[in-house]
Amino acid sequence: MSTTDRNVAYRQQAREWLSEHAPSYSGSVRDGLSVEDDLALGKRWQRLKAESGFAAITLPQEYGGAGGTEVEKAIFSEEEMRFDLPTAYFSISLGMPIPIMARYANDEQRNRHIPPAIRGEEIWCQLFSEPAAGSDLAALRLAARRDGDGWRLNGQKLWTSWAQFSDFGVVVARTDPSVPKHAGLTYFYVDMKSTGISVRPVKLLSGNEDVNEVFFDEVYISDNQRLGDVGGGFRVAIDTLMIERYAVTDPAGYGPPLSALIDLARQVGDGDKAAIDDGQVRDEIARAYCEQQGLRIIHDRAVAALARGGEPGPEGAVRKLLSAASRQRIGALALDLAGVEGVSWSEGDAIRSHFSASWLDSPTLRIAGGTDEILRNTIAEHILKLPQDYRPDKGKPFN
C-alpha cells in the first residue's frame, strides 16, 4: 500500500471512529457545562483517544502515544476539528511541554510523566511569559538561585494557559542576571502543587479565565528537574515553541464559519433588498472567502510536504495574521448587518456560533501567541530575509 493510500485509509478510519464516539463528547452535550464539568468531559475524551490510539499521535507507543506520522496527526486533527470537542485543555500540554520532556528528560522522568499526560490524567502548562516579558521573552525576570542540590524560584509568570488545572509545568527562569539577556536563562519543570506556587486566573475582556498569573515564592526545585544546561534555557524555550512541526488550525480563526455570515446576509437587509446584495458586504465576504480558501490550500500543501518527508514551510505566521484580523472584521460586519440588535451578547455565548462573541474575543487572538507586529517581523526576517530590528540591549548584561 502506498503512503497516499495509507493516509486515505487512515482518514477513513479516523472518520469512522470519530463519528461513532465524538457526538457523546461534543456539541450540545457541552451546552451549559461548568468549566470543571467540561474539563472532566475532556479528560474522559482524552482517555478514550489514548485507549484507541488517537492521542499524542506522533509520540512513541511506549509512552502511550500512537507512534504515527505528522501527516496522520494532521489528518486526525482536521477530522476531530469538525466536532466541537473539549480538547483545548490538552493542546498546550501535549503540544509542547510533553514533547519537550520526551526530548530532554531522563528515562525515569519520561516513564513517570508522559503516559499520564497522554491519557489526560495530568495536565502540563508552559510558564514562559511575564508582565515585562511578552513579545520579548528573553527579558523575563523570574529568578532561580542555587540552593544546595537544587534551586529556589521567585517571581511571577503571566498569561499561563490552564495553569489553574495543571499538575506540572515547564518554566524558564533567570539564573544569571549579569550576562546578556538570552544567556542567563535556565529551563526546568516544576510540580504545580509545590509549596510557594499560587495561581490566580486572569479575567479577559470576554469574561474567559483560561489564562493565569502564577506566583513563585521560594519554590524549591531539584536540579534533576533541569532540562538542558544551566544558561541554556533560551535554546530549550525556542525548541519548545518550535517542537510542534505542524499544528492544524482553523482558517476561520475559530470564529463562526463564513457560511453563517452568508446565511445572515441573505436573511437581513434594509427592507428593500437583502444584505447579500450590498456590494460592501459582498466585498468583505469575497475577501474572507479568498483568504480562507488560500489558507486551506496552504495547509493542504504543507501536509503534502510532510507526507513527502519535507518541512511544512513557514506559513503559520501568515495563517494567524490573516485569520485573526479577518475574524475581527467579519464579526463587526455581521453585527452591522443586524443593526440595533447587533449589540446582543451574553457571557458564555460560544465563539463558533455567535458573531458578537467572536468579535469581542478577537483582540485576544491578535495578541496571544505572537502579536500581529511580531508575526510581521517573523515573516519579514525569516522568510523575506530582511534585517532584524535594532536591539539596543543586544550583548549587554541583563542587570
Binding site: S129, P131, A132, G134, S135, D136, A139, L158, W159, V202, K203, L204, L205, G207, V268, G269, D270, G271, D272, A275, D278, Q280, V281, Q328, A332, L335, D336, L337, A338, G339, V340, E341, G342, V343, S344, W345, S346, E347, S356, W359, L360, P363, T364, R366, I367, A368, T371, D372, E373, R376, D389, Y390, R391, P392, D393, K394, K396
Partner: protein
C-alpha cells in the same frame, strides 16, 4: 492636541465642572462593576450630572432649564465619551431638544420641566433590526391612544423613565410617541449586550397610553436621529481621543527589546493613523455643529457619524493592540472602550444605513 470646540468662558467653566464630576464617578473599577452588577447605568454619575443641570442643558429657562445650547450639550457628550461614562446624557438631551420643537400647546412639552428638574431619564427607540435606519414598518403599533408590541434592544431602556418611540399608527403612517416606561402596561425585558453598562432592554408595550409627539416636520424621526447622531459622534470622538491618549502614554513608558515600544514604527504609524482618523472625525463633527452643517443636516450628521464611528473603533482596537496582553484583560479596562465603540456604532442604526443616507443625498444632489 486640538480641541474640538472653540469655547467661551461659560463653556470652559462647565467643562471644568464636567471634568470633576466625571473624574469622581466614572472610574475604571466602577465601569467594571457596572458590567458585573447589571444595574444598567451609573446612577451616581447621573445624579451628579443632574445636580449640575446637564439634563436641562437645552431646556428653555421658562421650563427651569439652563438653555445653554446644543453645542454645550455636545461638548459634554465628548467629555462623557472620554471616560466611557454610562449615562443617557445624549438621549435625554436629544429628547429634550425634540420636545422643545413641539408646538407650544403640545402636552408633552410639560415633560421639559421634569427633564430640567432631573426627574425624567429619557431614551430613544427608533431603529430596529437590519441595515436601514428607519424601519418601514416599526414593530410597535399605536392605535391612536395606546401602544402595542416590542421595541428590542433599547439602550437605557432598563432604567429610563420615558422613551421616544418610533411607531406605526394608521396603515402606512409612522410617527413618534413619548412613552412613560413606568406605566404598569410596560414590561422591560433586560437585553444582555456587549456593553451592559447601558441597560439595554426590550420594551414590551401592551396597551400603554400615549399620544403622537410630532413637531410638524415631514420626517421628524429622521431629524431626531440626525441630531442624536451628532451627540453620539461627540461621545465617540471623546472616546477615540481617550484611547489615543492612553495608548500614547503606554507606548512611551512600556519597554520591550531594550527600548520604549513607542520607538517601533509599527506602533508609531498605527497611532499616527488613529490621529489622522480622529482629526477627520473632529472636522466633520465641528462641521455638523456649524450653521452650514445644521442647514444640511442629513449630510452633516451622516458624515459626523461615519467618521466618528470609524475613528472610535480604530482607536479602541489599536489601543488594545498597542497594549498587547494587558490590553485584553478585564482589569486593564480598555475593553470598555472597545465594547462602547461597537455599541455606539449600532445603537442609532447600522453604519450601512448611514452610508446610504450620505450617498443618497450626494447622488441626489449630483443628479
Amino acid at each position: 492636541m486640538t480641541a474640538t470646540f472653540d469655547l467661551d468662558a461659560d463653556q470652559v467653566m462647565i467643562r471644568d465642572q464636567a471634568h470633576e464630576v466625571l473624574a469622581e464617578y466614572s472610574t475604571l473599577s466602577r465601569l467594571c462593576a457596572l458590567l458585573e452588577n447589571k444595574e444598567g447605568f451609573d446612577t451616581a454619575l447621573w445624579n451628579g450630572t443632574a445636580e449640575l443641570g446637564w439634563p436641562g442643558a437645552v431646556v428653555a429657562e421658562a421650563f427651569g432649564g439652563h438653555d445653554i445650547g446644543w453645542t454645550t450639550v455636545c461638548m459634554l457628550a465628548e467629555e462623557i465619551g472620554r471616560v466611557c461614562g454610562a449615562i443617557p446624557h445624549s438621549s435625554t438631551a436629544v429628547v429634550a431638544d425634540y420636545l422643545g420643537t413641539l408646538a407650544s400647546g403640545h402636552p408633552d412639552r410639560e415633560y421639559l420641566a421634569d427633564i430640567a428638574a432631573g426627574k425624567v431619564i429619557a431614551t430613544i427607540g427608533i431603529c430596529e433590526k437590519g441595515t436601514n435606519l428607519l424601519p418601514a414598518q416599526p414593530s410597535v403599533r399605536f392605535d391612536g391612544t395606546r401602544l402595542y408590541g416590542t421595541k428590542a434592544a433599547v439602550a437605557f431602556g432598563a432604567v429610563a423613565s420615558h422613551a421616544l418611540i418610533y411607531v406605526r399608527s394608521s396603515p402606512g403612517s409612522v410617527g413618534l410617541v413619548l412613552a412613560d416606561l413606568n406605566d404598569p402596561s410596560v414590561m422591560r425585558q433586560p437585553h444582555p449586550a456587549l456593553d451592559d453598562s447601558r441597560g439595554y432592554a426590550d420594551l414590551i408595550f401592551d396597551g400603554t397610553p400615549a399620544r403622537l409627539c410630532e413637531n410638524g416636520r415631514q420626517n421628524s424621526a429622521g431629524w431626531l436621529l440626525d441630531r442624536a447622531a451628532i451627540a453620539y459622534a461627540c461621545e465617540q470622538l471623546g472616546g477615540a481621543q481617550a484611547c489615543l491618549d492612553i495608548a500614547c502614554d503606554y507606548a512611551r513608558t512600556r519597554t520591550a527589546f531594550g527600548q520604549s515600544i513607542g520607538r517601533f514604527q509599527a506602533i508609531k504609524h498605527a497611532l499616527a493613523d488613529v490621529y489622522a482618523a480622529i482629526e477627520i472625525a473632529r472636522g466633520n463633527v465641528y462641521h455638523a455643529l456649524s450653521p452650514d452643517g445644521l442647514a444640511n443636516l442629513p449630510v452633516a450628521a451622516a458624515t459626523a457619524r461615519l467618521a466618528s464611528t470609524h475613528a472610535y473603533e480604530l482607536a479602541a482596537k489599536t489601543a488594545i493592540q498597542v497594549h498587547g496582553g494587558i490590553g485584553v484583560t478585564w482589569e486593564g479596562g480598555l475593553h470598555h472602550h472597545y465594547r462602547r465603540s461597537r455599541v455606539l456604532a449600532l445603537e442609532l442604526g447600522s453604519p450601512i444605513g448611514w452610508r446610504n443616507q450620505l450617498i443618497d443625498h450626494l447622488a441626489g444632489a449630483a443628479a
